[in-house]
Amino acid sequence: MSSETKQILTTDGIPLEISLKKAERKNKIKAFLLVAPLLLFLIITYIFPIGEMFTRSIDDKMITNMLPKTFKSMETWDGKELPSEEVFASFLSDFKILVEKKEHGKLAQRLNKEKNGFNTITKKLFRQVKRNKIDETQSIKEQIMKVHKRWRNVEYWQAIKRTAPPYTSAKYLKAMDMYLNEDNKITQVSEDRRIHRILWLRTVEVAFFVTVFCFLMGYPIAHLLATLPMKYSNLLMICVLLPFWTSLLVRTASWMILLQQQGVVNDFFVLIGLVSDDNRPEMMYNKVGTYVAMTQILLPFMVLPLYSVMKTISPSLMRAGKSLGGTPFVAFWKVYFPLTIPGIGAGCLLVFILAIGYYITPALVGGASGTLISNQIAYHMKTTLDWSFASAMGLMLLGGVLVIYWLYNKLVGVDNIKLG
């Protein structure tokens, strides 16, 4: 007996299996078509631009396109002694085109970033070219070398060669306070110029401590909210939800009022005799302000996931633990606490990720010590317009967040996240 005769047919005479598959595919396409508009919208306006940030951050094509002939002729140069006549000649012809397009200034700027001193010698060469002093029938190498002694220095030609690749990791290294030196080795910048590493460390430190504070303050009240009878807990829940729905800037403003030197908190400290009236502590424009304000602002994001997990834990479990001979502390630690771990994970992840990208509150209440890596990104986006550097730092931050997210997924599982 062949299997064909056994096949079940639909009333149309089509084998059932094929007919079902067809219906299945139709449903799949239908479901996908519903998601497609949003997916497409996000890919075009969001996912793709994030990818563009990457190409922007490593892009170094500008100079590659400026000196095409030079780089071509440099391919055979070993880079130990001064390059040949051919390299000099092609450099001059590239340079002349740039002078015509008035782009020699850009070249000087870019080369000066690679090695200090290019600005002067490029200007000198420009003057010679402008006055048509360079005679192309004679040796161009000799003539360029006469323009300035640095053109005779092989290090400067090595620097030009280093800029040849269309991609660079310089922006990423800069974000870590490092750079590629003459021998293509990663070196640290001098100690007094290491600003970015401080910012990264401070960002992680602030995010970490804010998460810890939120956890320490959020756990007790989430527990209280979950165990109180409904009519009380609903009322207290307003204390969590009202800040949650209130504008971030409003809450920052109120902390600025509370924490100022003549503010309510200081008034209170004076009133209870903690500090004297003429010796009021500075609580704003430093880390204290950042921690206090950020903890209050992010606390609801800790309480809500904790609450939703604690709500599902039956109170009889604690009673069982106690009746089996555990003290309330043991019962809590061995029974209740382990059950809340998904909530703790979700809350901590949420708070940490929000805190690490924070920008507005630290900038307003943190003073100089409130500058975090996000402020630096915004600064380069808006003020220096070094967009590739901003992109590089942004992607490093994103990488960090994704690693945390991945770790969390491994340890707790993303499915446990709940939004209140």
Binding site: K30, F32, L38, W245, S247, I257, G357, L364, M381
Partner: protein, 284 residues
């Protein structure tokens, strides 16, 4: 929270300590919002409680900062409020439509690549705002939409849809699909079924997602700072510049209005949540 009579002393102490901590945290959470309230009625220009206010002297209170907010010549609050509402309303509409339709697809059991697509759709919520800001700015600059209302609305749709997707998928998870099949068997076409059967049932979820999207847009400052020109100023931008330069009582008047607004939003969100729980048959 009365303790049973047999509780040992040390647990009694611990219990009161726990209550004290909780009280402190609740005050810490809610008190900052109430400081703004009285100070916005201050008759003086300083942001501290004057002697008159402490003695509840009626002369120490006035509405001058509210008048300044509305009629002040130098104040751009009127324009900012108009822009904020226009942008937030359109962004909410966009997020709700795109998000609800996508959630319908996502909760179908036939949906292919569910995990990765869901991750993509909610990614704007997970990626730090500053990075979203940079990426969205690059797109808008290229598309020529920087410093336009359209650009900001699109940006806020990006940031708002994850909330709609999450709330509507959650509502749909308790949705009984046999009712749509019943409608289909009675001869209704899919669009009609959606409008007459599905939508009324998932409406609480849709609206509460919309509220999230509205607040996200209304309160958003990081992305707008990159995108907005002078004409697109919004309330958060005005507050940001105001707070950076100098804390004026007018800002507190605006802040008070915003707190009133958020209270209204909170009440509607709570009512919706309860209604939705009732509809889904969750009784607590």
């Amino acid at each position: 929270m009365a303790l049973p009579k047999y509780t040992e002393t040390r647990y009694r102490i611990w219990h009161y300590f726990y209550i004290a901590i909780c009280t402190f945290v609740f005050i810490f959470l809610i008190a900052p919002l109430f400081v703004i309230f009285p100070l916005s009625f201050n008759a003086e220009e300083f942001l501290v409680f004057s002697e008159g206010m402490k003695n509840l002297d009626p002369d120490a209170f006035s509405l001058r900062w509210y008048k300044d907010m509305i009629y002040g010549t130098k104040n751009p609050w009127g324009l900012a409020a108009k822009n904020s509402f226009i942008i937030a309303i359109f962004a909410t509409l966009g997020s709700v439509i795109l998000g609800t339709v996508a959630a319908l697809g996502l909760s179908s059991r036939h949906m292919p690549f569910k995990g990765i697509i869901m991750a993509t759709l909610i990614s704007p919520m997970i990626v730090p705002l500053i990075i979203s800001g940079v990426a969205i700015f690059f797109f808008m600059a290229k598309a020529g939409l920087a410093a336009t209302h359209t650009g900001i609305v699109l940006a806020h749709i990006i940031l708002g849809t994850p909330f709609v997707v999450i709330t509507v998928t959650a509502t749909l998870s308790g949705f009984d699909h046999s009712v749509t099949r019943a409608a289909a068997s009675l001869g209704s076409n899919p669009v009609n079924t959606f409008m007459k059967v599905t939508l009324p049932l998932i409406l609480p979820g849709v609206i509460s997602g919309g509220l999230f999207a509205f607040v996200t847009s209304f309160d958003e400052v990081v992305v707008v700072l990159f995108l907005a020109g002078l004409e697109n100023t919004t309330i958060p931008i005005q507050m940001w510049t105001g707070l950076r330069e100098q804390l004026s009582p007018t800002i507190l008047a605006v802040a008070t209005c915003l707190i009133v607004l958020s209270t209204l939003i909170l009440i509607s969100a709570e009512l919706l949540r309860r209604r939705s729980e009732r509809l889904r048959g969750i009784n607590r």
